[in-house]
Amino acid sequence: MTSYLFVVLGAVLVNNVVFVRILGLCPFMGVSKKLETAVGMGAATTFVLTMACGASYVIDRWLLIPNQLEYLRTLSFIVTIAAIVQLTELIIQKTSPLLHQVLGIYLPLITTNCAVLGIPLLNVNLRHNFLESLLFGFGSAVGFTLALILFAGIRERLEAADVPIHFRGTAIAMITAGLMSLAFMGFAGLDKYK
């Protein structure tokens, strides 16, 4: 039981997908200007990533490995993720058109979000079982959402700061992301404590 907890905690904090693995920076920079958008993007990614981890585990374990088709792993994962993203987009468009418009290009871009492909592949590398895969995907996505929300909170304040003109916008956002990453390094070693 504790090992599952460590999988989730490790994915959320210690190996935070954005701050430590430095994955998924594109939506992290793109949709973190406003808190509401960040929450929406986080929710969408959480849904997609958890589904993708489950689906990719099934495909890998029951389809690719028995047929010795591991070389198709990346390809088939991408296709699966693309389909799930499409589905999510349709649902969001129906339920929250404004969120759909605000997420804009970043929603279909979840497809190419390296975090979404990276986590299922990591699952395979780390030899996670089905539940672990799901939890790892979920934990990573929660970590992503957490990073996005925290970042959005800071950016909303930064918007009013007197940042030197050359550093306005993306530059200061990248510096902030770097410093947040530095802070998250404090969690290093927590998952290895015995």
Binding site: E156, R157, E159, A160, A161, D162
Partner: protein
């Protein structure tokens, strides 16, 4: 913070006027240097009538009153010269008898340095009243009473100048628990209410009794800061007499702890009753109404003596040798008052109001109006320029002193960056601009200026939004109407023509095609002809029109021009809502 305090004044004074009163604290507040002694030494004096009075028509919150007099007319003291216009508006009267010299744009006692319509009055020295008679409010309907007070020009004299007739409305229940009389007067330097209570306690109390009857209020609480013992004593004597006459003890004088801004209406209501009236809500919904003591006196004069509001007590203080309170007719230039008090040579500005919330006047020639509770003369030594503004370090001092429990530094942060939506999320509009935050700020940031800026920007935007909504509606209606007219026209044509359908279709096509038809050509020719005529007319009419006019004609033209200017003025959107 919510610790109730018990103040007992009756034991010291004896008598049932100020019974045990449970008091509540409001959050924050500051204790600046009060500087009130300078102007309390001498009794209220009557200011001499100046050689010319400039009486602004717009002296209260709400609609601009329409002028009722024109140049050359003779008016009596107390004669209405501006009639209330619209739902929220209050009349204006001649402060003395004399001749109207002009109705024109004059510099207003307003920080903007802009002008507005004023009646210029030359006193004839006779000071001749209109016939005055008391108003029998007991036998009048509430609407009649309120109309009378509106036409008597009674407005809140605490500084907000909100028309009092609108506040003399008991609300949904038809009666109130408490009438609060605000004698706290927390601003430094200002002592006009103090002196009013000392010298005219009885009349003020009578005014309070009248208001209480109109409002159906159960009790009257008179809140006075404990740094005014003479006023408290005087009001207690008057209250005891009033209670004895009524045979109960429902009028109570309550001494409240001295702390700025205890005289804020909402803060005083909270201190006396524990009720917090939210922004945008009426205090009557919570069974309380609050009036300034000066307003109570004005209501007494209007109803018991039949005198409209034409003067008020004004404190002249600051950088002067003889600070004093004067009874000043409205329209008196501030300069005249300042001269009376012997200003020091280094005086460099005139402020209307106190040092915490007062407005800087564009010149000392601006007139005293109903909102003028104090004319404060400043100098570099008395009010030095603030040290340079430093960045906010979010130390939170401002939040500690904010009487509205706001987070001033957050409001500042977003107002400064012009992110108004965020500033509003931090409840910018609950800010009463008391200045406590700016007073304590270690970075010397003019915080209130940022709030004023943000508020007026937001108001302007809201107004724009409203007019955009109106425009959208009208545009959509127009589209609808055009569509309908087109169809009607087509239908008419179809009915008229014997040939029927083909022609109707053609007509419809015609209506849609903006090609020139013979009909239109004819119209164009007509227009061209009219154009010629107009040009000729203009060339002829212009010189004739302006030369050789009799004085009467000139006056008439001036009046018409004034009216036009006024119409233009009124057509402009009104920015400020009542507060």
């Amino acid at each position: 913070m919510e610790v109730p305090r018990v103040q007992d004044h009756s034991s010291a004074k004896g008598g049932g006027v100020s019974a045990l009163q449970r008091l509540f604290k409001f959050h924050g507040g500051v204790k600046p240097a009060y500087n009130k002694e300078a102007s309390t030494g001498l009794p209220i004096a009557v200011a001499p009538t100046p050689t010319q009075l400039v009486i602004p028509l717009h002296q209260s919150i709400g609609g601009m009153p329409r002028p009722l007099v024109s140049a050359g007319e003779h008016v009596l003291k107390g004669q209405r010269i501006g009639g209330a216009d619209g739902n929220v508006s209050s009349a204006v009267h001649a402060s003395t008898s004399g001749k109207v010299l002009a109705v024109e744009m004059r510099l207003m006692p307003h920080t903007s340095g802009l002008s507005a319509m004023c009646v210029i009055l030359e006193p004839d020295g006779r000071d001749e009243w209109i016939p005055r008679q008391p108003f029998d409010y007991r036998n009048a309907t509430p609407t009649e009473t309120r109309d009378y007070l509106r036409d008597a020009g009674v407005v809140g004299l605490g500084g907000a100048v909100f028309p009092s007739y609108l506040k003399l409305n008991p609300g949904k229940q038809g009666k109130l628990d408490t009438l609060v009389l605000n004698g706290a007067e927390c601003e430094p330097f200002i002592t006009c209410d103090d002196l009013l209570m000392r010298e005219r306690a009885e009349a003020t109390l009578k005014g309070a009794v009248i208001m209480r009857e109109i409002l159906g209020a159960g009790q009257v609480l008179i809140g006075i800061e404990d740094n005014k013992p003479e006023a408290i004593a005087a009001m207690e004597i008057a209250a005891r007499a009033a209670n004895a006459a009524a045979g109960d003890s429902s009028i109570r004088v309550v001494s409240v702890p001295t702390r700025y801004p205890a005289g804020g209406a909402k803060q005083l209501i909270r201190v006396l009753t524990g009720i917090e009236v939210p922004h945008g809500k009426r205090s009557t919904d919570y069974g309380v109404q609050c009036f300034n003591v000066g307003t109570a006196y004005a209501i007494y004069e209007a109803i018991a003596l039949g005198q409209p509001l034409i003067s008020r007590i004004v404190t002249i203080a600051g950088n002067v040798r003889r600070a004093r309170n004067y009874e000043v007719p409205f329209g008196t230039p501030m300069r005249d008052l300042v001269t009376l008090c012997d200003p020091l040579p280094d005086s460099d500005r005139v402020i209307m109001g106190g040092p915490m919330m007062g407005l800087l006047m564009p010149a000392d020639s601006v007139p005293v109006v109903k909102a003028t509770n104090c004319v404060l003369i400043g100098s570099k030594a008395l009010f030095p320029a603030p040290p340079p503004e430093m960045p906010c370090i979010r130390c939170g001092e401002c939040a500690k002193v904010c009487p509205a429990d706001l987070l001033p530094f957050e409001m500042y942060w977003f107002s400064r960056a012009k992110i108004f939506g965020k500033a509003q999320e931090y409840n910018l509009f609950d800010c009463i601009e008391c200045g406590c935050c700016a007073y304590v700020c270690p970075s010397h940031i003019p915080l209130v200026d940022y709030y004023r800026f943000a508020k007026s920007e937001i108001w302007a935007r809201e107004l724009e939004k409203e007019s955009a909504d109106v425009a959208r509606e009208r545009y959509e209606f127009r589209l609808l109407r055009e569509e309908r007219e087109k169809q009607e026209k087509a239908a008419k044509l179809a009915a008229k023509t014997a040939a029927g359908r083909e022609k109707a279709a053609a007509a419809l096509a015609e209506a849609e095609k903006p090609a020139t038809t013979p009909e239109e050509d004819a119209k164009k020719a007509l227009i061209a002809a009219a154009l010629e005529r107009a040009r000729a007319q203009q060339a002829q009419a212009r010189p004739e029109n302006t030369d050789n006019l009799t004085p009467e004609q000139q006056a008439e033209v001036a009046a018409i021009e004034a009216r036009r200017a006024e119409i233009r003025e009124m057509a402009k959107p009104h920015v400020r809502q009542s507060d």
